[in-house]
Symmetry: C2
Subunit: 202 residues, 2 copies
């Protein structure tokens, strides 16, 4: 080995020791409230990535789509085709609010999706429940934020992970969440006239 390589090995050994020491203090396990928000891409994709991890580990899980029902997604097809025995999939919304143009109907749909979500979260057989795009329903007050916060705080089984996605997550939700990631848009191809593409966007 060169001197450079020696120095690298010694630096990395120190880094590993420091990291191992920190990691040794992280011993608790608990069901997390996870929020993906921000204007960037990847909020739902990353949530589905976690759902696929659960499926891979044989952990029962469930998905409720609050808004994107109007869009046919690859994830839904894949889960319904291959993993419906381990992951329940409920599409309750009919599309974005500017597609439906009917507020009463949107509220009714959001309400039904939330009732289904509570039922799935209460079932201790589910290790993870994904509430996809619920933040949009919360933002328009189709579901009162207080009701969701109270439910997650008081009724969520201790070991169950709940993932909530969508732009403009409410402060009350961020306040009670364990893990919050904001996806920030740095560059987007729509700006140069590229349309939504199969495999990338849906």
């Amino acid at each position: 080995m060169t001197n450079d390589a020696d120095r690298h090995a010694s630096k990395m050994a120190k880094k590993k020791a420091a990291r191992d020491k920190i990691m040794a203090t992280k011993t608790d396990k608990k069901g997390l409230v996870i929020v993906h928000t921000g204007k960037g891409k990847g909020k739902s994709s990353a949530a589905f990535g976690m759902i696929f991890r659960c499926i891979a580990h044989g952990m029962q899980c469930a998905v409720v789509q609050f808004i994107k029902g109007g869009m046919k997604t690859g994830e839904r097809d894949l889960i319904e085709r291959h993993f419906s025995d381990i992951c329940a999939f409920h599409t309750m919304g009919e599309g974005f609010t500017w597609e439906t143009q009917d507020r009463d109907r949107d509220i009714e749909m959001a309400r039904a999706a939330w009732e289904k979500s509570k039922e799935l979260i209460r079932d201790p057989a589910n290790s993870m429940v994904l509430l996809d795009e619920i933040n949009i329903a919360l933002r328009y007050d189709y579901i009162p934020i207080d009701e969701v916060v109270t439910f997650l705080t008081d009724e969520k089984p201790e070991m169950t992970h709940v993932v909530l996605t969508g732009r403009n997550a409410k402060d009350e939700l961020i306040e009670i969440a364990d893990l919050v990631t904001e996806m920030e848009l740095v560059k987007h191809p729509f700006r140069s006239g590229i349309k939504a593409q199969i495999g990338v966007e849906y």
Copy 2:
């Protein structure tokens, strides 16, 4: 309908018209260079979410893991068990640099991973190639950034999507990318003593 509902419907109809008009200008399709970076979570999960979308649509794709080889991930299991006919999976790294503590070996591994990546990207049968955690190898200059940028600019087939993940993406890469998302950490449960958990982190 109430007046409120009428106002909502009219507002949303306008929003939809504006949106449809904008979307009509987005007509081009092309293979994108996509970067997921930042300190937050979800960089790899969102990338795997896109890989699962491709799989769902029957599009051939491939994954090269540059660094995380030491960690057994759920995604790899799931893809190798169910979808190996449509998605090739290559794990070339042996863990993080502070685990291996051997710079020469890390460089050799990164080099091999990059050679495999080029081969997979050149194959026009692949619609999407994910280079997972390549940014770590680029950051430590295990692979020269100029070589990667030149390859993606000059040799990537026009319709192939290439997804590059990892913290600290180099400016030269962001410069040539079509779609860049920065995952920002807002809140992390490690801070309150919670360890990495199955289904969430791996």
